[in-house]
């Protein structure tokens, strides 16, 4: 018996066997809580399952056909795209610009960078509460500032035309520290000799930025674009807290709509899954296109 235990121990103590034991917990969790549910999304999307399992019929493509007729779903997708097109470029541009301006490790720059990162550390719930108050048309600081300038006071989050751009601005405010941090690493690894050569030729800072910095960090910009696009397409928290999709569905995002379809009456999980599947396909397409563009740019630059 002891021999058996010993030889078993020996078997698993070989690095090429022990590796499986080391990987096992993570692989199991990823399989059970990501891969399996993802398969589940596609499986459920062909059914009319609801939260209480009173319906469990296979309905074929019905959910997908319904999606094309569902104005609220199409509207949610358009809103999501609008948010993405506003938020992603703004966050990347602000992140790269601030990283370029603060790239030297002086004491002031370091302190500034850590302040810029502060909003990343708080939740969208808190960020949303702060900005809802500062932009409150009746008591907010920003409306008062506009009032002092003699400008009209808008309704901010309650104005259907302004709400989505504001949600995007709030997101940039909270998250550009991430883009700043990621592009800073890339910008700081550009050799000084490139800038020195440009300075001897009399290049301005702007020329340095566009002709040295940007081309050198194309892979990082690509990475930022992809992660930001994926993130933006899933926007939920900041909308839930500031407008909960209103006014008149003007800010309802795809994930918000999926959530309210699935988790509020009539709890149509099958249809919500079909919407999730559509969202997944759209995100996959956008990711692929962005990857290809980044790849081409990288080739062109090298």
């Amino acid at each position: 018996m002891k021999n058996k235990v010993n030889s078993l121990g020996k078997f698993w103590n070989k690095p090429n066997h022990a590796a499986y034991l080391f990987m096992l917990p993570s692989i199991l969790i990823l399989l059970i809580f990501i891969v399996l549910p993802l398969v589940g999304t596609f499986a459920l999307s062909f059914t009319d399952v609801n939260l209480f399992f009173t319906n469990t019929k296979f309905v074929g493509l019905e959910n997908f056909l319904r999606f094309f007729q569902d104005e609220r779903a199409i509207n949610a997708l358009i809103n999501t795209l609008q948010f993405t097109l506003l938020e992603t470029p703004a966050q990347i541009i602000l992140g790269i610009t601030t990283a370029f301006l603060l790239k030297r490790n002086t004491r002031f720059n370091r302190l500034t960078r850590s302040v810029y990162y502060m909003p990343v550390v708080i939740s969208f719930t808190v960020a949303g509460i702060i900005w809802a108050m500062i932009l409150d048309p009746n008591i907010g600081a920003v409306p008062y500032f506009l009032f002092k300038l003699g400008l009209p006071i808008p309704q901010f989050f309650r104005d259907p035309n302004m709400a989505m751009p504001l949600v995007a601005a709030l997101t940039v405010w909270k998250n550009f520290g991430v883009s700043l941090t990621i592009s800073l690493t890339a910008i700081q690894s550009i050799p000084d000799s490139l800038y020195e050569a440009a300075e001897i030729d009399g290049a301005t800072k702007a020329q340095e930025f566009f002709h040295i910095t940007i081309p050198q960090i194309i892979p990082t910009i690509g990475f930022l674009a992809i992660t930001n696009l994926i993130g933006s397409m899933q926007v939920f928290d900041q909308i839930y807290i500031t407008t909960s999709g209103g006014p008149q569905y003007a800010t309802e995002s795809a994930v918000m709509y999926i959530y309210s379809r699935g988790f509020s009456s009539p709890y149509e999980l099958g249809y919500a899954s079909a919407l999730s599947a559509v969202l997944f396909v759209i995100i996959a397409i956008i990711t692929t296109i962005t990857t290809i563009i980044t790849f081409r740019q990288e080739k062109k630059m090298s």
Binding site: A19, I34, G40, N138, S273
Partner: protein, 290 residues
């Protein structure tokens, strides 16, 4: 002629200096304006959370009031189960962080320093799961957790988050850079594979574990949709979820909502002040591929 060139040189220098100064002014203006835009909302929130309701809703709005009070804090703790929210958030975010840093290290270690069959397949498999957004599979995940009877439990909240593809890759990239012959020496000393990992390797990558830890803690602490979906009773909510629901009902009473927001953000901000390097490093390594 010599004089002329000198003059031209001087002119050039002057021109450059002027331009330089102009650039400096724009630089400082922009940087300081952004500093203000970041800091002002925080300052406004914290000061307002100590104001009486009448001062909060005064027009014109004022940053400072004549009197301050703890009323809002007392109210928010009385009106919603803040202590439960705090406890739940600490258990959820803390549990996820501790377990996932450990499991991610295990898997990252195997993927970086061990040779085994199927390694590449596992490597790319893990990489692929990183591309799948949570929102896309949240409904079946919810059904799974409720099928296991784990809705409104800590296990149900923590378990699905106890490993992350990102964490595995981050730990892998740190293990790969450790000196090559560490294991051999330890094996000769008679340590088994787990002891090598636990006693030799883990202590060497403590900074990386701390970075991943802060990154995971921050994401879990601030997460909204995930805990919102997996909890149904008020007593099981985390701070962001509980506050979000409270805000939905009471947005007209800013005082208690703001006090709640300060309580929710303070622990992480304090940690950030002391462990800033590790917070930022988690994000920075996210940008390094593979």
């Amino acid at each position: 002629m010599n004089k002329d060139t000198l003059a031209i040189e001087k002119k050039k220098k002057n021109y450059k200096n002027n331009k330089f100064k102009f650039g400096r002014i724009i630089y400082y203006f922009f940087v300081v304006l952004l500093l203000f835009l970041i800091l002002f909302p925080f300052v406004w929130l914290v000061i307002s959370s100590f104001k009486f309701e009448k001062d909060i809703i005064s027009w014109p709005p004022k940053l400072f009031a004549e009197n301050y009070t703890l009323d809002n804090y007392i109210k928010v703790f009385n009106q919603i189960p803040m202590w439960s929210y705090i406890k739940n958030t600490v258990i959820f975010a803390g549990g996820v962080t501790i377990i996932s840093v450990f499991l991610d290290s295990l898997a990252g270690y195997a993927l970086s320093r061990m040779e085994f069959r199927g390694k590449n397949i596992l490597y790319y498999g893990v990489l692929l799961t990183m591309m799948i957004p949570f929102q896309v599979y949240m409904i079946p995940l919810f059904l799974e957790i409720s099928g296991m009877g784990l809705i409104d439990t800590y296990t149900g909240l923590i378990l699905p988050r106890t490993t992350s593809a990102f964490g595995i890759f981050m730990m892998r990239s740190f293990f790969i850079n450790l000196p090559k012959d560490l294991e051999e020496a330890a094996r000769i000393d008679g340590l088994n594979e787990f002891q090598i990992f636990y006693k030799i390797m883990l202590p060497l990558i403590k900074p990386a574990m701390l970075s991943l830890g802060m990154f995971t803690l921050m994401n879990s602490w601030n997460d909204l949709l995930y805990p919102l979906m997996l909890t149904t009773t008020s007593d099981m909510r985390t701070l962001p979820a509980g506050l979000a629901l409270f805000t939905g009902q009471h947005i007209s009473f800013y005082g208690p909502v703001m006090a709640g927001a300060v309580v929710a953000m303070l622990p992480l901000l304090v940690l950030y002040v002391f462990l800033q390097k590790y917070f930022v490093q988690g994000t920075a390594t996210a940008g390094l591929k593979g």
